[in-house]
Structures are given as C-alpha cells and as structure tokens.
Amino acid sequence: MGLTYQSVGIPATREMFNVKVTDNRSVIALAGNPNTGKSTLFNALTGLRQHTGNWPGKTVLQSKGSFIYKGREYTVVDLPGTYSLLANSVEEQVARDFICFAKPDTTVVVVDATCLERNLNLVLQVMEITEKVIVCVNLIDEARRKKLNVDIQKLSELLGIPAVATAACTGEGLPQLLDLISQVVCGDLKPKPKLVHYSSELENAISKLEPKIKEVLGAELNSRWVALRLLEGDKTLIESLEKFYSQEMIKATREVLA
C-alpha cells in the first residue's frame, strides 16, 4: 500500500472541497447562524476584504483565506450561515458535509451573543460530529449595549469546549481566539464536548446501532451522530457518503458485510 493521505493523517476528502492538502497547513472552518458576523471574523482573521453586510444569507460564495500564527499556516473556510445541520437546505448540507468529510482541524462556531439560546442549537449539533470545536461568542459589544452578560467561563464548562468572547469588527478577543485555535489544532487543548442526552428510547437505539456503524465506517465518522441520522431516516447523509468516500472505502465495506 502506497503512501496515501489517510496514512499521513490528512483526510483525502479535503481535496474535494478545493482545500489544498499539505502537511503543515491546518484547516479552520467557520460555522454559525446567518448574520452572526462570520464574514467579519473571516476578514479579521485573514486580512481579506470579503463583502460584509447586515442581512442573512449574504455569503453566497464559500470563501477561503489563510493566515499565519506562531509559525503555522492556517486555511480558513467561511461556511454559509445555517441554523442547524439537519440538511434541510443546500446551505445546511454544504456546511454539514464540510465538517463531516473535510474534517477541519478546528471548527469555530460563531454565535451571536445577543441571542445565544437559538445559536447554541448549532453548537450542540457540531459537537456531535467533531470534538474539535471552539465556540466564539461574537457581537459581545452588541450584547453589552443591550445590557446582556454572557458568562463565558460557565458556557465553556457547560459545553465542555473552549469558549471566547469576541467583537470581530473591533478586534476584541481575537488574540484569545487565535490562541485557542492554535492550542486545539496542536492538541494542547482537547475539548471534551458534553453531548445532548436524548430520550431513553433513543439512547437505547443508539447504543444498539453504534457498534454496527463502527464496523462499516470505522472511525471515519462519529458513530453516535451517524446513528442519530439513520434513526431519523436522513438519506442525504448516505448520498454524501457515496460522494465523498473512495472506491476503496466501499470495497472495505463490502468485505465487512459479505
């Protein structure tokens, strides 16, 4: 067997997203609800000047940029804004597929400090797919103006992942965010997401399915998350799996089930 990307630990599927695959380049995904300032944050991180504006759905192109921090090169991908990852729309499917199959080294979920509750739904869903998540509580200046206080420390504890407050347009909190990103990418900081508990009926079903999913998919995808998708009958996931996994993978599957 030759040297494949798999063997050096970089997902081959990343290339399908036009993200350059190199050894020392880390990939950061920016996810978040529409209009939470992902593009502003993207511009602040990369120094690019992507169009920003106060209306949901403005980012029609998935944009990529890069920056260097502490001698390491990062590629940042600005995902389209979504409220969930349940693949109800094209945007949701694009965002989900990127996190699932391009396997970013860190996913930064940008949330709006002024309506945290609604934004947290997405954070919880991203946490089910990948452990490498940072929650970035953006628009903190806006929240202050509305006299809202967000306890970042406690949020981090309750979610089990690193959290940071930012105001991307003024640059507040960006140094901390960069630091967290580099720590998570290097493995110095290992987020331990506290996942959502479902009804006992569902949890039972999940535990029955998980081992079988592991047999088919190995460690490629989070088996708990796949179990949930199978239970709700999400066919788009199976389509995406076909699209993103190589013939080799399918062959291996065949052997397992033979």
Binding site: N54, K147, L148, N149, A205
Partner: protein, 464 residues
C-alpha cells in the same frame, strides 16, 4: 454491496429498532437539542436591563408598516440622492478644473516638443480626456452614493426593504429575496446577478437575474443625476437639488415597477411556476462602523473608478477621438454613424449621438455620458466644460436638447442592455448564452417601447 446499500441495511435496522415513525424521532431529537440549548443559555446569560424595551421591534413596526413603510423607503432614497447631488457638485467642479488644467499643460508640452497633431489629438483629446471625464463627472457621485448605501446595508435596513416589497414580488410570481438582489444591483448589476444565488429556486433566480439591470447601478446613477440636475434642477431654482433628487428617486420607483411587470410577464410566459415561500429573518439593527465604512467604501470606489477609467474609459476615449477625426468624404466616421442611427433614435426621443454613445458604452455604463460629451465636443467648437451651466449650454444650445430629450435619455439609461461585465456574469452564472441574450434583449425592448411611447405621447399631447 455498496456503501449506500450497507448503510441502507443499517437504516432499515434502525427503523425496526425504533419502531415509531421517523418524524417523531426527528421531533424528539430537535426537542432535546432545544432543551439543552435553553438550559445552557439560561445558565450563562443574565440581563441587567430591567424593563428593557425592545427598540428593534418598535422601529420595525414603523419601518415595515403598511402605511409608513413605503413613504419612508422613498424618503430615504430621496435623501441619499439629494446628499449625493448637493455633495457631488463641488468636488466635481474641482476635479474638472484640475484635470483640464493638466490637459492644457499636456497640450503645451506636446506643442513644445513639436509632436504631430494626430498624436496630441489621440493621446490628449482622446485617451486623456476620456479618462478625465469619467473621473470628474462619474467619480464624485459614486463616491458619495455608495458609502451611504453601504451604511444602510450595515445598519440592517435592506431586509426591511425586502420585507416591504415581498408581497409585490410574490404577486408577480417571483421570490421575495429578489428585493435583496435588486438592492445589491444598486451598487453594481454584476454583483446583483451574483447575489441572485441566495434564491434557491432556479426559476425565480433566473427571473431575478434577467430583471436585475432595471435598477440603475452605480455607473448609471451619475448620468441620471447630472441630467436631472441640468434639466430639473435649473427650472426650480431654490429647491433645485431636492427636485432633481425627487426625479431620480421617481425614476428608481419606475424601474422597480418595470421589474415587477417584467417578472410577472416572465412567470406567465417563459418561466411558468408558483413562487416558493421562504422565511426572511429581520436581523437586529447594528450600529455600522461609520468612519470605517465611509473611508473604506470611498477608497474602494476611487480605486474602482480609477481602474475602470484606465482600462475602459481611456481606450474608449481614444477610439471616440479616432472615429471623430477620421474623415470619409467630408464627414467623420462618428458623425456618419450617428447620422445613420439618427432616424431610428429620433423615434425614441434621442438623437444619433446619444444612441451611439450607449452602443459604444457597452463595456461599462460609466463611459456612456463621457462618450456622448466627447462626441458632441469633438464635432463642434472646443469649449471649457467645467460647470453644469456649460454642460447645459452644450446640450441645449448647441445640440437642441429639450426636457423630453433628457427624459428619454434618462429612461434609456434605466432600460437598455446591461453592461459587458454584467452580461459576462450572467453567462457564467447561468452557464447559458441563451439566457445572456435574453437578459440583453428584455431591457432593450422595454427601453425602446418606453421611449417611443413617452416621446410620441408627449408630442401628441402638445406638451412640447
């Protein structure tokens, strides 16, 4: 067995395990996630604001009210245009004086080194002057209008516009988000066409794409503004700039009406279908980074205009000079072409030079008006064109413009083929030469019909 099949087996198994219908599973999953989010948010967010009144909602109630929504929209547009008109006059005059002072020095230089007349003509009177016109006439209005518009966008006003216009677009069988793509078109039609990607349904996206050029882009606003200032502004002395602003705003409303009409016609003919519904979130109002936005977008505009001046206007200026100075018999090519177009143009209430300027201006709308001025000037007496009064004399006294000519020209500015960049973008977005051609034909036909109607109607009524 493929991956799909093996997971399909697992999915079947999942269904057996769970036993209940899948909708309930999804419902239960979503519920659990919502509950978790709720409890986490409750544990981390505290509000110090006692009885915090919801200003956003209060403002929205006014801005999107059935009664006040439209007057406010129209008012805002008029105010922005008024600020553009009054603000652009002085920098325009300064730029014109400066650039034409340089032109004189360049001429002296060419004479001093004994350069041949054709070289001086081509480079100074053609290339340099073409670029100078674009910079002095087009740049100031663009550099004022665009930042103001960007401020409104950052503030969060655009989704409210979309909200107000939604029912009209739905009535026309189009998508409510078309109002947003239309708003983007104010900045640049090519950007507006790209913004059409936010519309999911291909049918409705196509409608939005085909009608985007009915909103005047930043490259056309200055022309409208200049003509309105010269023809409307001068008639009502004290309120001149306000009247000019009102007339341009009225023209924009007319463009929106045309957009709705054409969208409706398209849904009845080429693109039949029912409008898809969507939820539009009204984002919270945010204080824009005022200084940053202004500085950035003014700089962006200046760079944009200067680049276009060099890449498109300068060569176009050269070409116009050549056309105006190459003689066939005793007329120049330019005059011959204009003469050939003239009979048709007269039906539209225009003249041959105006129509020719539109045709030569295909690469970019900014250069239409400068080309027109250049072809007028190069045909006749040389004159200093450093004020609107001089422009008025050129158009009215020397070339017989009436207010009807100005009106028809303004209508044709609003409705004619999109610029080259926009057409190219449409071709790329739709991956179809056919739809690109349709996008060029529709506004052109509309423009011709509207101009002929207005022209003959005004004449028949004896208003002129």
């Amino acid at each position: 067995m493929s991956c799909r099949a093996s997971l399909g087996v697992l999915m079947k198994e999942a269904r057996e395990i769970i036993g209940i219908c899948q909708d309930e599973v999804r419902h239960s999953i979503v519920n659990s996630i919502y509950q978790s989010a709720e409890s986490i948010a409750a544990g981390t967010v505290s509000s110090k604001a006692g009885k915090n009144m919801d200003w956003d909602r209060r403002i929205d109630r006014v801005l999107t009210s059935p009664v006040w929504g439209f007057p406010i929209m129209f008012g805002m547009l008029t105010v922005i245009l008024w600020m553009t008109i009054t603000g652009a006059n002085i920098p325009s005059a300064i730029l014109a004086q400066g650039l034409f002072w340089i032109e004189e020095r360049l001429t002296e230089l060419f004479i001093a080194v004994g350069a041949p007349a054709w070289l001086h003509g081509f480079l100074v009177l053609g290339v340099y002057r073409g670029a100078a016109w674009v910079v002095s006439v087009m740049l100031p209005p663009m550099a004022i209008f665009f930042p103001l518009f960007t401020l409104l966008e950052d503030l969060g006003y655009l989704p409210r516009v979309a909200f107000n216009l939604d029912r009209f677009f739905k009535g026309a069988g189009a998508h409510g988000k078309q109002a947003l793509t239309m708003s983007m078109g104010f900045g640049c039609n090519a950007a507006g066409v790209i913004a059409c990607r936010i519309i999911d349904s291909p049918r409705e996206r196509l409608i939005a794409t085909l009608t985007n050029s009915f909103v005047p882009c930043n490259g056309r606003f200055p022309t409208l503004i200049a003509l309105a200032t010269v023809f409307v502004g001068s008639s009502a002395a004290s309120m001149s700039s306000a009247a000019a602003a009102l007339s341009v705003a009225g023209l924009v409303v007319f463009g929106i009406a045309i957009t709705l009409l054409i969208s409706w016609l398209l849904t009845k003919t080429l693109l039949k279908g029912i409008p898809s519904s969507f939820t539009l979130e009204l984002p919270p109002y945010r204080k824009p980074q005022i200084v940053q936005v202004i500085v950035r977008s003014v700089l962006d505009r200046i760079i944009f205009v200067l680049t276009r001046a060099v890449i498109i206007a300068a060569p176009a200026g050269g070409i116009v000079w050549i056309l105006a100075n190459t003689m066939i018999g005793d007329t120049s090519i330019l005059a011959a072409l204009a003469g050939w177009l003239d009979p048709f143009a007269r039906h539209l209430g225009l003249d041959g030079f105006i129509l020719l300027a539109f045709i030569l201006g295909l690469p970019a709308n900014e250069i239409v008006f400068p080309i027109l001025i250049m072809s007028y000037v190069s045909g006749g007496v040389m004159m200093e064109l450093d004020s609107l009064e001089a422009l008025r004399r050129l158009l009215v006294d020397q070339h017989g413009w009436t207010w009807l000519t100005a009106l028809c020209t303004m209508l044709f500015v609003l409705c004619h083929w999109p610029c080259g960049t926009t057409l190219f973008t449409i071709q790329r977005e739709q991956r179809s030469w056919y739809w690109m051609a349709v996008a060029a034909v529709i506004p052109t036909v509309v423009g011709i019909v509207v101009c002929i109607t207005v022209n003959y109607l005004v004449r028949a009524l004896g208003l002129i």
